[in-house]
Structures are given as structure tokens and as C-alpha cells.
């Protein structure tokens, strides 16, 4: 039976609920590996960071699926490096089944880079975009 996106969504959900780190499924003509990322899902604002700390914050996926940098109807990605974005701005989508789950910027700032590639499989907590918070960007 072919593995479709709805199966992947269900599996990912079960992995997260039961605390399983990863699963690999092989069929005669397809294979699937799901890895649950355990990175910080809501990075702390960098306003109070010391000079040695990485000043960036990271937007992460909150569901498992395929990453899309832009809406399929549109040619331009949601955001581009160097762009100023507000807290809560959409930096990309995770497509799972018929759902487009937004990946949101945790802080206002300048987009440093989009870390995921369109079409790539991402998991819960996968870093999607790196943002330099505005307070940090202004003080340097």
C-alpha cells in the first residue's frame, strides 16, 4: 500500500505522543524515515543575551511534513534574506496532507536565512529560518 501524506501525518503524531525518536519504513519500491527533532520549539527572545551568545532566534516547524518556502499559487517565497519581518510573520509552510501549517517568526527582526529547502521533509522542531531580532540588529 503506498504511503501517503495522511499516513505520514498520523505516524508523526504518534511518534510525538509516545516519545519515539524516529521510525523507518521500507516497502518494495519506497522507503520513509521520520525523525522527531527535539530542538527548542519556541526560542527565547535574544534581547537579554550576552555578547558571546548567538544573537539569532530560530523559527521552527511545529508539525512534520514537507517544507514550502512559498505558496504553490505564488512565484515569490514568503520571505527573503535581508527582509525585515514582524513577530508572527509567516516564513514558510509545512505541507502535511491537505494542510499548510505556517511556520511563524518568533520575534521581530531581519531574516538572516531560510534553512530548509522547498520539498524537504521536516519534523517537529526542525529549524526553518534564522532571524536576527531587531533589538539586537539595532544595537550592533
Amino acid at each position: 500500500m503506498p504511503i501517503d501524506a495522511s499516513h505520514i501525518e498520523r505516524l508523526a503524531r504518534l511518534l510525538e505522543i509516545y516519545g519515539v525518536a524516529s521510525i523507518e519504513i521500507e516497502d518494495k519500491d519506497q522507503s520513509l524515515k521520520l525523525v522527531v527533532e527535539t530542538g527548542a520549539s519556541s526560542p527565547a527572545p535574544a534581547a537579554a543575551s550576552s555578547p558571546r551568545q548567538d544573537p539569532h532566534v530560530v523559527a521552527t516547524a511545529d508539525v512534520a511534513g514537507h517544507f514550502l518556502a512559498g505558496h504553490p499559487w505564488r512565484t515569490k517565497p514568503f520571505v527573503e534574506p535581508g527582509q525585515q519581518i514582524h513577530a508572527g510573520a509567516i516564513v514558510g509552510l509545512v505541507k502535511v496532507g491537505l494542510i499548510y501549517a505556517p511556520v511563524l517568526s518568533p520575534a521581530e527582526g531581519i531574516l538572516d536565512a531560510v534553512l530548509a529547502e522547498t520539498g524537504a521533509m521536516v519534523g517537529y522542531g526542525t529549524p526553518i529560518a534564522r532571524i536576527r531580532p531587531l533589538v539586537e540588529a539595532c544595537s550592533t
Partner: protein, 327 residues
């Protein structure tokens, strides 16, 4: 409440339609793209028949008078609220005082705004849809105007209802078009098909039909080669439904749409199947249609495809909400 600030063209309140009044000569009205209206309501966990606003032209602007969740489905629009851009086929939150602006419509012909709980105008003859001809339903039976205040049944949005998008119907239900830029719709032959000779029937199937500016919620007037019956047909008026393709004396087809009269006398060559009528509803003025003959069982099977899409949407949205609640 929602306040309409600016509007262009016949914007109206529509639900899925009024289906029990045919015997009184009252047509269905209802959303021209019922799939988009249902999808918006699914995103908001509304009854799928909840009324929304059908917006056929931009610019369009409204103000939310209280906090509520809303969704935009149907045609692609460039939408902004409170400095945020809203992607197509999307659910979001409005705060009291927020202004939603729809600036351009690069794809499709009608956008649907649905709100949590639905637009709460009174139901008339079993539906909230605007019946333009009879001037009832919707808001006072007429197109929306600046200054109109629309009541909403929206409860305060539950905390769990966050930003979310869904895959547009025309990606999931895409069909191969015989010619690029022409929209192919499936039709079944209708009562007077055999009154057209073989060459004329071929002409009907082979032609690309341009949607003229004289097209609206009542019907789409098409332009192409003249398609005329072998001998003039004079029929008494008889029942017709949205989707029927009539051939008036000039040989230029008319597709009856959601605000069509319930009866007519022009010969009927074919009928657009219900599962493709939403595609016609999203076809823009000046674009082209082609007709593909299909059999009745296949027309029914096509409805199953739409049901399957909507079922998957319901399941997927529910699963994602559950997933987010698990965290």
C-alpha cells in the same frame, strides 16, 4: 458585526443555496463556488452551510467590529489585515477594529470570506442566500454597500484556533485541460441535443467558448461559432437548473448559473455536471471554456471526488487541531 467599508460589483451574502422552493419558481441562489464556501467553513469548524460573503471584484474593504476568526477561500486575492498578508485559502484571527483589504484578484473570479459561526442574517425560505431577483435573503435581498453592518454568529474565537492554510480545491481537483488556458468542464447531453445535426454537435464539442462580459450569477453568455438546431425549436417554458446550457436563436450558448430562473424555453444542448459547476463559477470574464462529454455515472463519480476532498479536509484539519492540543 462586520462593517463593509468599500465594495465593487455585486458582493453578496450566500450559503449553499435554497433547494426546496423550486415548485414556487424560486431558484437556488447560493455560492457560485460551493466547494470554496464549504472549505472556508471547514477551516472554521462551522456548519458547512454557514453563510459567507461572495466577493466577485476588488478592491474590497471591511472592518471587524469584534475579535473573530475568519477564512478566505475561492479566488486568489492579495489580502491584508493589520499590516499582515493573508495567503490564499487561509484562516486567521481578526481583532476588533482590524480592517481587511482585498486589493487584487490575480486568479479566479470569486473570493469567499467566512467567519467563525457564519454571517447571521435571517434565513428566508430555508436559506440565508441573497435572492437578487426576488429581493430577499442575504442582507435586505440586495448586493452589499459601504456602511452595511453584517451580524455575525461568531463566538469569541477559542484559544486553539490559529493561523492555518489548506490546499486549494483547484490544485487537488485539477483536471487536464485540452488546451492551455482553456477550462474544460464536463457536461451530459440534454433534452434537445438530438435536434442538432452531427456537424453542429461536433462544432459544439470542438469549439473554445469565450466568456463574454454579459456573464454573471444569472448565467454565462458564451461567444463562438453559431450552434443552431437543424430546424427552429419553439418549446413551452419548462424547468431548468443551474448548469443547463441553452441555445438561443443566435446560436451562442448560455450556461444558466445559481441565480437562473427556474424555467425557460430555449433548447438545451447539454448540462454542466454539478461537480464542475464551481469551476465555471471561478472562470473569469474573457477566459475560455471547452465542453467534454461525460456519461451520467461518471458525473456521479465526479461528485465523489469532491466529497473525498472535503472529507480529507475535515479529517486533516481535525487531526492538526488535536496535534496542537497534545502539546
Amino acid at each position: 458585526m462586520i462593517e463593509i467599508l468599500s465594495v465593487l460589483g455585486p458582493t453578496s451574502v450566500q450559503d449553499l443555496g435554497r433547494f426546496d422552493q423550486y415548485r414556487f419558481g424560486v431558484g437556488t441562489s447560493g455560492a457560485m463556488d460551493d466547494v470554496a464556501l464549504r472549505a472556508g467553513n471547514i477551516l472554521l469548524a462551522n456548519d458547512e452551510n454557514a453563510a459567507g460573503i461572495e466577493i466577485p471584484m476588488t478592491p474590497f474593504k471591511l472592518r471587524f467590529c469584534r475579535n473573530m476568526a475568519f477564512a478566505l477561500t475561492g479566488a486568489e486575492v492579495e489580502a491584508e489585515i493589520g499590516g499582515r498578508t493573508i495567503p490564499p485559502w487561509w484562516r486567521s484571527q481578526a481583532r476588533a477594529g482590524d480592517t481587511l483589504s482585498l486589493k487584487a484578484m490575480p486568479r479566479g473570479a470569486r473570493c469567499y470570506l467566512t467567519v467563525s459561526g457564519g454571517i447571521d442574517v435571517p434565513a428566508v425560505l430555508g436559506s440565508r442566500s441573497t435572492q437578487f431577483r426576488g429581493e430577499f435573503g442575504g442582507l435586505h435581498g440586495r448586493p452589499l454597500q459601504p456602511g452595511d453592518m453584517l451580524p455575525c454568529a461568531a463566538p469569541d474565537p477559542p484559544a486553539g484556533i490559529g493561523e492555518l492554510g489548506i490546499e486549494p480545491a483547484d490544485i487537488v481537483l485539477a483536471r487536464p485541460n485540452a488546451v492551455a488556458d482553456d477550462i474544460t468542464v464536463r457536461v451530459v447531453i440534454a433534452g434537445e441535443y438530438d435536434a442538432f445535426d452531427g456537424a453542429t454537435q461536433k462544432l459544439f464539442w470542438r469549439s473554445s467558448w469565450k466568456i463574454t462580459p454579459q456573464s454573471n450569477r444569472y448565467g454565462y453568455r458564451l461567444q463562438g461559432p453559431a450552434v443552431k438546431p437543424a430546424s427552429p425549436i419553439e418549446k413551452r417554458s419548462h424547468g431548468i437548473v443551474p448548469g443547463v446550457i441553452q441555445i438561443p436563436p443566435n446560436g451562442q450558448p448560455i450556461i444558466q448559473m445559481r441565480d437562473a430562473q427556474t424555467s425557460g424555453g430555449y433548447p438545451k444542448i447539454a448540462t454542466v455536471i454539478r461537480a464542475d459547476l464551481w469551476r465555471v463559477g471561478q472562470a473569469r470574464l474573457g477566459s475560455r471554456l471547452r465542453f467534454e462529454q461525460t456519461a451520467y455515472p461518471d458525473a456521479l463519480a465526479a461528485e465523489t471526488d469532491i466529497s473525498a476532498y472535503l472529507d480529507r479536509l475535515r479529517t486533516n484539519v481535525r487531526l492538526l487541531e488535536e496535534l496542537r492540543r497534545c502539546r
